[in-house]
Amino acid sequence: MSLARPLSIFALALAASFGMVQAAFADEPVKLTLTLKDHKFSPAEPTAPAGKPIVIELANQDGTPAEFESKALRFEKVVTAGKTITVNVHPLKAGRYRFYDDYHEATTEGFLVIQ
């Protein structure tokens, strides 16, 4: 009883939030393709237009796992050796947004340049 109640309310809230998702289908996202090799991103400074959703695809060509992360772009995703992942980024204002490999943050970084 004491569990059922909060659970059901929580489920309702979840269902509501997923319902909102269906309603809001924004315009086509811009796709960026990046690779990670020898702990370097390439391109290191990809560009994309402002105000559009972005999908970044990252192929990890190193033999070690990496964690593709950015605070400003709000994503963090593990990409194991030889694998490819994608992350979704919300529409952005013009500027430079830093991303990095969380396991080698000091040396493995890049900037998403929004114009």
Binding site: S2, L3, R5, P6, L7, I9, F10, A13, L14, S17, F18, M20, V21, A23, A24, F25, A26, P53, V55, G63, T64, P65, A66, E67, K71, A72, R74, F75, E76, K77, V78, V79, T80, A81, K83, I85, T86, V87, N88, V89, H90, P91, D102, Y103, A106
Partner: protein
């Protein structure tokens, strides 16, 4: 070595804080240490499994398996924390006043502690899987510095355990009467923060696309990658660049907790002992 220490320590802070809080919350409750120990152990095993299958997990569900998995376990932790607070709101007072049959209270208390054990498991699993992958990366890229990095990682682990100890001993110095209010508030904020983290994963996966704009940017004032920022990130869910939806969900979860504890607390409050009054039910 310092690099490895920092990475492992950074990953472990959140789990360390959460386990410390849970230890303080359940202080003196019989069987709680065993349950929390099991939770942490399960978390470690789970972390290794998640790390081992990280590649498959990332490819699952059309490439968003990792996000769905992270969001799901975070939401499980949120539900467990909410349930614990609601349970405490309804039974905590009775326990304190010893008006309830001890047997029932202990049984129900056991369930509440199990919920917190799950929270510990989830916290350790999430952070631990990233550490396991990092360590795997170290081992895979064999170099002359590997031993050095291993020592750094071990020291990072020790530092993480120290965070747990500090959190626990810091909390238990609070007088028992006030401890309840403090931990209730802490758990509420923790739950709201974890829910906001789950939102990040769902937005990154593209499952949710609404309210994706940045609500504020305080990264120049207090970065959530700094040590203090990270601690606040875990304790109160601080984020230096949250999305609007994250803020909405954070406040929503807090509102749900307050509403639930109020209603359940009121319903369970001891009735006045007026003998002559006609029973309402």
């Amino acid at each position: 070595m310092l690099g490895a220490l920092i990475i492992v320590f950074r990953e472990i802070i959140e789990a360390g804080l959460i386990v410390g809080i849970v230890l303080a919350v359940t202080k003196g409750v019989r069987g709680s240490r065993l349950v929390i120990g099991l939770g942490v152990a399960a978390g470690v095993v789970g972390a290794c499994l998640v790390a081992a299958f990280a590649g498959a997990l990332a490819e699952a569900m059309a490439g968003i398996g990792q996000e769905i998995f992270n969001a799901s376990i975070l939401l499980i932790a949120v539900v467990m924390l909410i349930w614990h607070n609601v349970w405490m709101a309804s039974h905590g007072r009775e326990l304190a006043m010893e008006v309830k049959a001890v047997g029932e209270a202990v049984r129900a208390g056991g369930r509440s502690i199990a919920a917190l054990g799950i929270v510990c498991a989830v916290a350790v699993m999430r952070e631990g899987s990233e550490i396991a992958l990092f360590m795997y990366g170290l081992a895979a890229s064999a170099g002359s510095t590997t031993a050095d990095l291993m020592i750094g990682s071990a020291l990072g682990l020790v530092a993480g355990v120290a965070v747990t100890a500090l959190t626990y001993f810091g909390l238990v110095t609070i007088p028992q009467r006030k401890l309840f209010a403090v931990t209730t508030a802490l758990i509420s904020l923790l739950a709201a923060g974890l829910a906001a983290q789950a939102v990040l994963f769902l937005q990154q996966a593209g499952v949710i696309t609404v309210l994706g704009d940045t609500a504020w940017d305080t990264s120049s004032i207090l970065s959530d990658t700094s040590l203090f920022g990270r601690v606040l990130h875990t304790l109160i869910g601080y984020s230096d660049q949250p999305s609007v939806l994250q803020v909405v969900v954070y406040l929503g979860v807090l509102a749900i907790i307050v509403a639930l504890t109020k209603t359940v607390g009121a319903r369970r409050a001891p009735r006045p002992k007026a003998v002559g009054a006609a029973p309402a039910e």
